[in-house]
Amino acid sequence: MRQRDLLWGLASVCFAALLVFLWHLISAYRLVAPVFLPPPLAAFNALANGFEDGRLASATAETLERIFLGWLLASVLGIMVGAWIGISAFARNYVMPTLELLRPLPASAAIPVAITFFGLSDAMVLASVGFGAVWPMLLATAYGVAAVDVRLVEVSRMLRLGRFSYLRIIALPNALPDILSGMRVGLVVALIITIVGEMLTSRTGLGQWIMLAARSFRSADLFAGIVILGLIGLASALMLSQIERWLLRWRLQA
């Protein structure tokens, strides 16, 4: 069975290669103008050149840094506020409705507001990413913390756990699966808002890279940038699911 899965995987990779070859044929016979669709080799060369002279590498590094910082900010904020809302009836009654009101706001709508306060700067990107990515984590944490098994709550009362020990020992571990899935969604949002922020602020980064490439009709560079952004999306999703599996390994034993 494993062997068959492996074979199918191999066939699937071959199929993807076939599609790339088809892409090559399309651009070789100029069925689509190369301004829109560069040959795959040209895109690959642009990728290699960009990393060789370091411009694409530094853009990638800057983008990764912004995504990570914004996501971290949103995670810390979201988990803290979410935990507060999860354990405090006061917060649930008085604060949560306001947050519920703000939640349907598309995250990118925070960008113009952030520009008025921070200008076209890194702080602006950070603030927008933080605002946009905070919601999935906040709501997931609040939900997970509030949904602790009644018996566990009773146990913590028997043990006379204080609020913080209760959070640390019982509520947050209980909410971990929710928090992790919230962080996964938050990472996607962080990636998207970072790209838009870079397009608008023209700070060095992949968002600026693809925008400039498109404006000057350098489609090979544009495709190189898109490929890296896709890889960032893919790699971050894979990494998070690995972390999730490692952090939640205690659940499998139960």
């Binding site: 066939a11 199929f15 306001t98 009101l101 990118s108 838009v196 498109a214 898109i226």
Partner: protein, 251 residues
């Protein structure tokens, strides 16, 4: 929402208004709540806000239509054909994580600015979710139902129309609702980023013109629009799913 939930926003707004009237702010970044409300009412009265809203919603729904139908179609084909599905897996998983906004510059080259750009980006943003969920819905159909179709000598098209679609429809609909939420977000994002249309662009212009009262008016309106859009979607979903349960198999 109960009255206790209203205390925080009401007091923040009241404090902002109090500060604005007593100290008289002259700011490029802030505006008093009364000014914001006045701008909002004015924009609603002169029709500019409504037009922008229709542009944004039109582009979002247009993209949902294109991306959703492509996703459903591809999802049904892949869900029914095991071979094709396994062959496509790697290709799909490689393209799917590309963030929708990364496609904006490419589609800008192809379509220029305007509705077609926004619809295309929204379609790209929703098509993968719909495809994956539809594929799962179709692949999860009770195999005996398909055997029944074969025994009854149905053609492929008949089987899809009479067996596959009805039993996968509730889950496809849930996928579409998810996609609809995403479509509005992507539409506004495209407008904020590049496209001179709709509410997102309105916000950007107000910000660039240093008119914070307009910008916040757009923000408040976007909250209202986003909230009603989601409320409507949840209601529609509830009604449709209930209807389907009357005719479809009970679980």
């Amino acid at each position: 929402m109960n009255w206790r939930g209203a205390i925080l926003p009401v007091s923040v707004i009241a404090a902002a208004q109090f500060a604005a009237t007593t100290y008289g702010i002259q700011s490029d970044a802030l505006a008093s709540p009364v000014e914001i409300l006045a701008s909002l009412l004015q924009a609603l009265a002169d029709g500019s806000m409504i037009r922008a809203t229709l542009e944004t919603l039109g582009a979002a729904l247009g993209g949902l239509l294109v991306g959703g139908s492509a996703g459903i179609l591809a999802g049904i084909v892949l869900g029914l054909s095991g071979v094709l599905n396994r062959l496509m897996t790697v290709s799909i998983e490689l393209v799917r994580p590309v963030p929708s906004v990364a496609i904006i510059p490419l589609f800008m080259l192809v379509f220029g600015l305007g509705f077609r750009l926004e619809i295309a980006v929204v379609a790209f943003g929703v098509v993968w979710t719909v495809l994956v969920l539809t594929r799962a819905a179709v692949a999860g159909i009770e195999p005996r139902l398909l055997e029944v179709a074969r025994v009854l000598g149905m053609s492929r098209a008949q089987a899809i129309w009479k067996i596959v679609l009805p039993s996968a429809l509730p889950r496809i609909f849930v996928a579409l609702r998810l996609a609809a939420t995403v479509s509005l977000i992507v539409a506004v994002t495209v407008e904020v980023a590049v496209n001179p249309l709709g509410l997102g662009y309105g916000m950007q212009i107000a910000q660039q013109a240093l008119r914070p009262e307009w910008m916040f008016a757009y923000l408040v309106w976007l909250i209202i629009v986003g909230w009603s859009f989601n409320y409507l979607l949840v209601r529609i979903e509830g009604i449709v799913l209930r209807r389907m349960n009357f005719t479809g198999p009970r679980r």
